[in-house]
Amino acid sequence: MYFPRLAGKPAGYLYNQLEAFKVGRRHYPPMNYLLEYLPDQYLMEIAQHFAAQHPTNEPPPIPDVSQDVLRQGQALANSGVMERQIPACARCHGVQFTGMEPGIPGLLGLRAAYISAQLGGFRYGTRTAPAPDCMQVVAARLTEDDVKAVAAYLASLPPSQDSVPAKVGSWPLPLACGSEPQ
């Protein structure tokens, strides 16, 4: 059983997730059930509470994949694959993968299984975001091997306790995203 960190993720991102669980855009019954009758204003306060916290400096687990796979993940995360129109993770989530306010989450301090499950969720529509759903577009272009590699690579990086999301508009996005003003 694994639950991803909330500490230090942008408030707008956390609020979007709470809202998505509340209305069923994200499907996880224990969360859907808890949030069903909570007012939006209260969800925003909850999001702000966790956004103000800092992630812990837990050392990342030892990757259980080969160096080749990690290198493939590193290439995807930092450079993307131009011929398949896959933007690098860093293009939106930042070169330090800290995310950007209000809607783009940081990617470090998460387990590989969680990251690959989220990419799968975007791909198969069990996790959706406000249109245009850019992560749906990106995830649909990834192969199973891509997902495994990029998840393993991101999970192998140590999160920094003082890393905070960049301010809104710090860099241009390569594609339109409903969760982020552009």
Partner: protein, 425 residues
């Protein structure tokens, strides 16, 4: 998908909602008709639609308001609620006030077709003509949504619509509410709301083998089919009977979802969220007066359990340990909680009542009371399904049901295990 359990098979069309059109001979239509409501009638209608909680069933989770399409799983298949926006083709745009009253009052569509009793017309039949007209006038003013109704998916033999005729003969008593002259106007208003628009009996009256609510056992409580929540008795003070509650506590519970005696949770959270929080103080108080009058003292139930004696004492020792580690911070070591946000567990009817279903589910799933104007930041209980084993769940529930003078019976790990798969939506 979860399969219905045997215990749920004693319910036919018990869940709230759904109009289903049935082709059957069309009786002649009454000719009085009301054209166009005035502003105050529309406003009254909006209020009454809240009291009847139409939105809860006639709106799909992410769908447009009142456009229907909410799936209602039953042991007999899935019903879908209908579009009640004024769209001419797919909604009720072509209906007049007579048509609407007939749906509410006798459970028949404008063409005479029979409606499945998942739509609570056996309760709505008590609504007055004037109030039915007001609700209709309001529904005519909401935005029309073009959305065809989804066909129901019922298994044989329940897809045979003529079954409804037999059901109606047994369980449907047509007729507006008749005031009791021996009671106050306030009591009568409360009874009218509880028995009529509020359709409280849909869940709080036990459902018999044919899926009908028994009038003789009105408000005596029962397991809600498919949802696996127990709707407690409103008549027994050992359950949710409110006989020994103050009127103010009842009003707080209904209006804000929270009171000094306990909070609402599970399916009742939805009722407060969508409906009861919007009622006027006068109507809420009237319901409280009536509900309090239903509460009857009854002798404490015999504590019965399938657990053996030795097993029981081990269970309670473990339960106390779990309680002190996980629960006491909020609910206090003495079980008195810190009301109203951390409800008391000692002498809490919801904990002591004979069915342990709700207590087990709260430990497994946690939950929040609804966010309301009176309680906009509700305190939630975290779920323990992930952290406690079946044994630990059974132990802690047994402990809170028997500690501090509570008169509930211990529960078994098997009971806890069974509820792990109870639906959460």
């Amino acid at each position: 998908m979860r399969l219905p359990q045997l215990s749920q098979f004693n319910a036919l069309f018990g869940l709230a909602l759904i109009l289903l059109i049935v082709s059957s001979p069309s009786p002649s239509r009454a000719q009085t008709s009301l054209s166009g409501g005035n502003a105050s009638q529309v406003q009254q209608g909006e209020y009454l639609a809240r009291a009847g909680d139409c939105v809860a069933c006639h709106t799909a989770p992410t769908g447009p308001r009142f456009a229907g399409g909410r799936a209602m799983p039953t042991p007999f298949g899935t019903l879908y609620s209908t579009n009640i926006t004024p769209d001419l083709e797919t909604g009720i745009g072509k209906w007049n006030a007579d048509d609407f009253y007939r749906v509410m009052h006798v459970g028949r569509m404008p063409d005479g077709g029979l409606i499945y009793p998942a739509m609570p017309f056996p309760s709505y039949t008590k609504v007055t003509r004037a109030e039915s007209d007001a609700i209709f006038a309001y529904l005519k003013t909401i935005p029309a949504v073009h959305q065809p109704d989804r066909p129901n998916v019922l298994r044989f033999p329940y897809n045979n619509r003529s079954l409804i005729i037999g059901w109606r003969t047994l369980f449907f008593n047509e007729g507006e509410y008749t005031p009791d002259p021996h009671q106050s106007a306030e009591w009568n208003r409360g009874a009218y709301l509880v028995e009529g628009l509020g359709h409280c009996g849909m869940c709080h009256t036990p459902i018999n083998a044919l899926g009908g609510s028994s009038e003789a056992r009105a408000f005596q409580g029962g397991l809600i089919p498919m949802q696996n929540w127990y709707a407690p008795s409103l008549t027994s003070n050992k359950e949710a009977g409110l006989g020994d509650w103050s009127i103010d506590d009842i009003v707080d519970l209904l209006k804000s979802g929270r009171s000094r005696r306990g909070i609402v949770y599970g399916p009742m959270a939805e009722v407060v969220y969508d409906s009861l929080q919007y009622l006027t103080d006068a109507d809420t108080r009237a319901m409280a007066v009536y509900l309090k009058s239903l509460g009857q003292g009854s002798p404490p139930p015999e504590a019965t359990t399938t657990a053996q004696r030795a097993e029981k004492s081990l269970l309670l020792t473990l339960g106390k340990t779990v309680y002190e580690t996980r629960c006491a911070t909020c609910h206090s070591a003495n079980g008195r909680g810190k009301p109203p946000d951390y409800p008391p567990l000692a002498q809490n009817q919801s904990i002591e009542m004979s069915s342990a279903v709700n207590a087990i589910r709260m430990v497994l799933n946690g939950g929040y009371p609804p966010g309301t104007a009176g309680n906009p930041r509700p305190y939630g209980m975290p779920p323990f399904a992930q952290t406690l084993s079946d044994n630990e769940v059974a132990a802690v529930v047994s402990y809170i049901r028997t500690a501090w003078g509570n008169r509930g019976a211990p529960v078994t790990a098997a009971q806890a295990n069974e509820l792990r798969t109870a639906p959460l939506e």
